[in-house]
């Protein structure tokens, strides 16, 4: 029973991690919380749903389509809603308000065009079960966990080992200097939004499969925000660890205490962290010398 709960928690945590990584990436480069991230996740689930039910594609192609689609949506989101503010050097509060506007606009667009129905995904995994040491674990849970962690490890390698990854970290450090090195910072920011969107795409598919696809499903990014704060906003390893911790704690609370208390618990953790540990577990350290 405990192992089963743990795996369910880790799988949910993996999805939180994917969303939190997207949040953190954008936060670290533009210093604002992109509240439109949830809308991108929601749209990616609809893209995946259309590919699965209308085009009858297999799981791999559905994920690929959704990842690319969400990446492009995320780049467009930046171009239309943030780029102009960024060029005018607007305070980050303005970007955040623009993000909220985007989120409401996109949600209501879906209400107005597709409607408020809850759509289920086709049963890609059925109710397949793997038995490990006497506990029966859901194949979907295991798969979601492995894919999430795999994607985050791949992102970590990209960011630490490649030239483009170094440029992203340099941009996080000092965007002006990054442009003085010869980097086209508009393109660098688009790349970051694409990556964040791609992660939103994976998260959207897994959320859609686990629950349903509906216009307000993106609100779950509140949890990703909590995960990012637990790990320390702007830190990628932090976002991953924060997501996993939150997923496991929530599942333990729902299983052993009460599922009604799950969200109460999560938001209490958020408030407590913001008061006592605002930098999170792995928050960005700053070091400057004259």
């Amino acid at each position: 029973m405990f192992l089963q709960t743990l795996v369910t928690g880790l799988s949910m945590g993996g999805i939180y991690s994917l969303m939190a990584v997207g949040y953190s990436l954008i936060f670290s480069i533009l210093s604002f919380s992109n509240f439109a991230h949830g809308a991108v996740i929601m749209l990616s689930a609809y893209i995946g749903l259309a590919l699965a039910t209308k085009a009858h594609l297999g799981f791999g192609l559905v994920v690929t389509g959704s990842v690319v689609g969400a990446g492009v949506l995320s780049v467009l989101n930046e171009k239309f809603a943030y780029a102009a503010l960024r060029r005018r050097r607007a305070p980050s509060l303005y970007l955040m308000i623009s993000a909220m506007g985007c989120s409401m606009f996109l949600e209501n667009m879906v209400y107005a065009t597709i409607g408020s129905r809850f759509y289920p995904f086709p049963a890609f995994f059925g109710r397949q079960i793997v038995t490990v040491g006497g506990s029966s674990l859901s194949l979907l849970d295991l798969f979601a966990f492995i894919v999430s962690i795999g994607a985050i490890v791949a992102l970590h390698l990209f960011i630490t080992r490649t030239k483009m990854g170094i440029a992203i970290r340099a941009g996080v450090d000092d965007m002006t200097m990054c442009s003085l090195m010869g980097v086209n910072t508009d393109r660098l920011i688009s790349l970051v939004f694409f990556l964040a969107g791609a992660f939103a795409g994976i998260a959207g598919i897994f959320l859609g499969i686990r629950y349903f696809v509906y216009p307000t499903m993106g609100w779950v990014t509140n949890k990703a925000y909590i995960a990012a704060v637990i790990g320390g906003l702007g830190s990628l390893p932090g976002a991953m660890v924060g997501g996993l911790i939150l997923g496991v704690l929530e599942t333990l609370i729902s299983t052993y205490v009460s599922s009604v208390l799950r969200d109460v618990f999560s938001f209490t953790v958020l408030v407590a962290l913001l008061i006592y540990l605002p930098n999170g577990l792995m928050g960005a350290e700053t070091e400057e010398k004259v």
Partner: protein
């Protein structure tokens, strides 16, 4: 000597509502070292940021090798003009090696980049021992060396140095100025902004004196060093 490699005429720059540069003229010849001296707040750094393309230009012409300068920083670097700003502005959370890679980020010639890394290590041997250390943990002098090395990795033809001696011990400053001469000997044109005007002019071919947003004087460096009025006002005696 001056064949107008970098030529600036009537440059106006605003910081919000503040008129920071009032029609600056500056001309730098190929392979020269030109110093810009002047009191704090004269607009020397503003001029550097404007040439590098970071500050928007409100009026005037900037020509490099006869052609107008582009307006975005990454295109200006691509032409071969590289700025080492005041207070170094290293990527402090990146390692020394990663900072150098950033300097060469536009280049694709692997062997050339490796050769240039060896070249900057020959110039600043102490950097080689600190390859995987974070830039933020280096000493002030090492940070300044790294800042110049990072700029050299783009193979610039013009190096803009803003207050390189700021916060450095006198001996370190002297060594730094020696390397600036070496860099010029390798064919790089240097524009040097310095508080430390005396030492800057000593290694320069020509000097400009800047005064609250305007150029007050321009002359061969030796002449400026010999002018008693200039000595009194700007060189501290």
């Amino acid at each position: 000597m001056s064949d107008n490699y970098l030529e600036i005429q009537g440059l106006h720059v605003y910081y919000g509502n503040i008129h920071a540069l009032h029609g600056i003229d500056l001309s730098v010849g190929k392979n020269e070292i030109v110093s810009i001296v002047g009191v704090n707040g004269a607009g020397k750094s503003t001029l550097m940021w404007a040439i590098a393309g970071v500050l928007p230009i409100a009026g005037g012409t900037l020509l490099f090798d006869g052609a107008p300068l582009p307006t975005s920083p990454h295109r200006i670097v691509a032409l071969g003009i590289s700025l080492v700003p005041e207070r170094r502005r290293l990527f402090s959370t990146l390692t020394l090696r990663e900072n150098l890679i950033m300097g060469a980020i536009r280049r694709t010639d692997r062997e050339g980049i490796a050769a240039d890394m060896e070249r900057v290590f020959a110039l600043y041997p102490v950097l080689k021992e600190r390859m995987s250390q974070r830039a933020g943990t280096l000493s002030g002098g090492e940070q300044q060396m790294l800042a110049i090395a990072r700029a050299l990795m783009s193979r610039p033809s013009v190096l803009l140095l803003d207050e390189p001696s700021l916060g450095l011990a006198p001996l370190v400053t002297e060594a730094l100025f020696d390397t600036i001469l070496k860099i010029r000997d390798e064919g790089v044109t240097v524009v040097l902004v310095e508080q430390n005007a005396f030492q800057a002019l000593e290694i320069s071919d020509r000097g400009y004196v800047m005064q609250i947003g305007k150029m007050a004087e321009s002359a061969p460096a030796a002449e400026l060093l010999g002018n008693p009025l200039i000595r009194k006002t700007y060189l501290g005696g």
